[in-house]
């Protein structure tokens, strides 16, 4: 008995490797994405959606936009080492977090601070990596949110392994891995998706295709019809969604999470979106893209799209707008206040978590640093 022989597992039913058994093992048709991305806002789907979901998406999108702005300002003031803004991608990030249940796990990339915050991590703890005081400022277990991952696509197999382990344990847990369009070119993306399909693991992959990997446009990254078409090569469904349509992203991910949860295996979702800001505050986007392209995407703004839909449903009342703005400003104010001063850091923490028990060599090195610090303190004390 193995989870691999689960009856929903498409690979399990296949007989031995026979000259006759050469036709496709599974039907590719349902795995292929629709040619047009799924959209919900501005369609009948928006009219049918739960008003409270729309309001919640709105509040978080507004707060997310403000968070991005405030963090960018903090880089200019030297209070953050670096910030990769997700301005323009708020719909993906917020919808991703909201599509998960508490027992699920999120595997974010460096650009996904907003998703991490929407998942419930303290907004300031989520920023320690980018502030420069701690690699990971939050307890990943507390909110089932993995550390922000910098080496591209390396979080993909992590999500697969965790989902697989959860399935083995019989737990009702799904993992969601976030990555960018550029990340799909890395070997780890490929290996991770293949493992997911073969293990039939309850995991969902969301590629936020924002058109660029730093300066490299999608057309130099991939020649695929869409990135979602990669799914068929692994034997999982590929889905295409308008990444600036928060409701559409929420729907597609919710469906994928539900499929994973009920033994339907992994899904690859490609969300079409755009990075309005430069790659990070250190980047100069004018070197590689035209202002008119940015403008075209500004006109397809995720916050505006949601506002329009709320207005259409008569949900965008003064109260909501004021509440959302208020929450956003409170968040920004808290960021300004807490990042006003540098944190107190303990240099000896360098040695604290390399191993469960420091080696003799590390104890010696810790002693050396302690002595240096003591000597310094003495000099300054005098």
């Amino acid at each position: 008995m193995t989870v691999l022989d689960h009856r929903n597992d498409p690979v399990a039913a296949v007989p031995g490797w026979r000259p006759g058994a050469t036709a496709p093992r599974t039907d590719p048709a349902p795995l292929l994405p629709d040619p047009e991305p799924h959209r919900a806002l501005g369609t009948g789907a928006a009219d049918a959606a739960d008003p409270e979901l729309l309001r919640e998406l709105y509040r978080r999108l507004v707060a997310g936009r403000r968070y991005n702005q405030q963090a960018t300002t903090l880089t200019k003031q030297g209070r953050l080492a670096v910030y990769p803004a997700s301005t323009g991608q708020e719909a993906c990030q917020v919808a991703a977090a909201l599509a998960l249940r508490p027992q699920d796990w999120l595997f974010p990339s460096y650009r996904d601070t907003l998703a991490v915050v929407a998942r419930g991590v303290d907004p300031l703890q989520a920023l320690t990596l980018l502030r420069g005081d701690a690699h990971t400022g939050y307890d990943p277990r507390a909110t089932r949110t993995a550390p922000l991952c910098t080496p591209l696509a390396t979080q993909v197999p992590h999500a697969v392994g965790l989902a697989h382990a959860a399935r083995l344990a019989g737990d009702d847990t799904v993992a969601l891995a976030l990555l960018g369009d550029g990340g799909t070119s890395e070997g780890d993306f490929h290996e991770g998706l293949n493992f997911a399909a073969v293990l039939h693991a309850p995991v969902v992959f969301l590629v936020q295709n924002n058109g660029y990997a730093i300066s490299v446009p999608l057309t130099r990254q991939s020649a695929a019809p869409t990135l979602a078409h990669k799914a068929v090569g692994y034997g999982m469904p590929g889905r295409l969604v308008d990444g600036n349509d928060a409701l559409a992203v929420h729907q597609v991910l919710t469906e994928a999470v539900e499929r994973a949860r009920t033994g339907g295996g992994p899904t690859l979702v490609e969300a079409l979106t755009y990075r309005i800001e430069a790659h990070t505050n250190a980047d100069d986007a004018t070197r590689y893209r035209q202002a008119e392209e940015v403008d075209a995407w500004r006109a397809h703004d995720p916050v505006r799209l949601l506002e329009d839909a709320l207005r259409g449903r008569g949900l965008l009342d003064e109260q909501l707008v004021a509440d959302a703005a208020d929450q956003a400003e409170q968040l920004a104010a808290r960021m300004r206040a807490e990042f006003h001063t540098d944190p107190e850091l303990d240099p000896m923490s360098l040695f604290a978590h390399v191993y469960a028990e420091p080696t003799q060599q590390l104890r010696e090195q810790a002693g050396q640093l302690a002595a240096e610090l003591a000597a310094e303190a003495e000099v300054h004390g005098r």
């Binding site: 008995m1 691999l4 390396t154 992590h158 697969v160 392994g161 780890d188 923490s349 080696t359």
Partner: protein, 340 residues
């Protein structure tokens, strides 16, 4: 071929026994999986085949394919998947098929496995054991005989363990699997089939302790893994030359047992470090540099190194010229400035 040790009536033996290192490793995996159901084995061909060296023989039969998993062929994927499993509370034991085939997984190893505890301030320790058959001397074609312990030993956050005896193979693997930190467990392929008497219940010195395999009064050979038998042979041969050589088996490169190594080096004043991987930037460099730094005024001669040459691993028909042998070790001993 099953690697379990059986008595004449076919029952699995317990207690003292004679067996190979391959059998001891197999038993260690089996016992670890019996003792702790969070222990999972994964790798290429570890299931029905029992691994190309048969170290995982019978595990799928006993524990099922969910506990001993044949993965797709993708080393980064394997180790990355193990990271996720460990995050969820499992204790994965990964088998890499050969040393050079662990290279595709080096990014996962260096950037995640080694760093995860540190980058999460202790919140996400990764109790992963990465088993890697390493070294040459088995007539393997290119890419099948690399010895890359230096890469691992230089990477903070990893433990690097390498047994040289049958008993250590069992004891150190059990301890590695039980460790809450990631361990790169290097298995000397050419010692897989060497037999020895041992007792699983007897226990061995823990990870981080070097063991003097042979006392001596003239000089010490400091070594580990595949080179231990060669050093013992050299020490035996050295008697004829009038040298009484001690042999120190490091057993683990990280943590390095400085205390034991320094004690013997200080007492004898002469040391030769022996390993088969390339000498330049090899583990022997660290050992020699460290022993010199700590024992300088006790040294009658510089700590010498006998290692593989600084060349890509040669084709099998030439490997014996590359690997440190008894003569090369004795030549180094002879250069330990005995007259002065």
């Amino acid at each position: 071929m099953s690697t379990a040790v059986r008595d004449q009536s076919g029952r699995e033996q317990s207690g003292p026994r004679t067996g190979t290192m391959a059998q001891a490793l197999n038993l260690a995996l089996r016992d670890a999986m019996r003792a702790d159901k969070t222990v999972h084995v994964l790798g290429e061909d570890v299931g029905a085949l029992g691994g190309v060296f048969r170290i995982t023989d019978g595990l799928t039969a006993e524990f099922g394919p969910d506990r001993c998993l044949d993965t797709p062929l993708a080393e980064a994927g394997i180790l990355g998947t193990a990271v996720g499993m460990a995050m969820y509370g499992l204790r994965p034991v990964v088998e890499m098929q050969f040393d050079a085939f662990a290279y595709p997984a080096l990014e996962q190893l260096f950037s995640h496995v080694a760093k995860m505890r540190n980058r999460t301030a202790g919140k996400l320790p990764l109790p992963i054991t990465v088993r890697i058959p390493y070294g040459g001397g088995i007539g393997g074609v290119e890419h099948h005989s690399d010895a890359s312990e230096a890469y691992y030993a230089h990477t903070p956050g990893l433990h690097v363990v390498t047994p040289a005896t049958v008993a250590d193979a069992y004891g150190l693997l059990r301890e590695s699997i039980a460790s809450d930190d990631p361990v790169v467990f290097l298995e000397p392929k050419r010692l897989y089939w060497g037999k020895d008497g041992w007792d699983p219940a007897a226990g061995v010195e823990p990870i981080g302790k070097a063991v003097l395999r042979r006392p001596g009064s003239s000089a010490v050979l400091v070594t580990y893994g595949p080179s231990l038998p060669v050093c013992l042979e050299a020490a035996e041969a050295a008697r004829a030359e009038g040298w009484d050589l001690a042999v120190l088996d490091l057993r683990t490169l990280v943590p390095f047992d400085e205390a034991t190594a320094c004690e013997v080096v200080r007492s004898l004043g002469r040391a030769v470090v022996v390993h088969e991987s390339a000498g330049f930037g090899g583990a022997g460099a660290e050992i020699a540099a460290r022993l010199t730094e700590k024992c300088f005024h006790h040294l009658a001669a510089p700590v010498l190194r006998v290692t593989g040459f600084d060349v890509p691993y040669p084709p099998p028909m030439l490997e014996h010229h590359h690997l440190p042998g008894v003569d090369r070790i004795l030549d180094a001993v002879a250069r330990l400035q005995w007259e002065e």
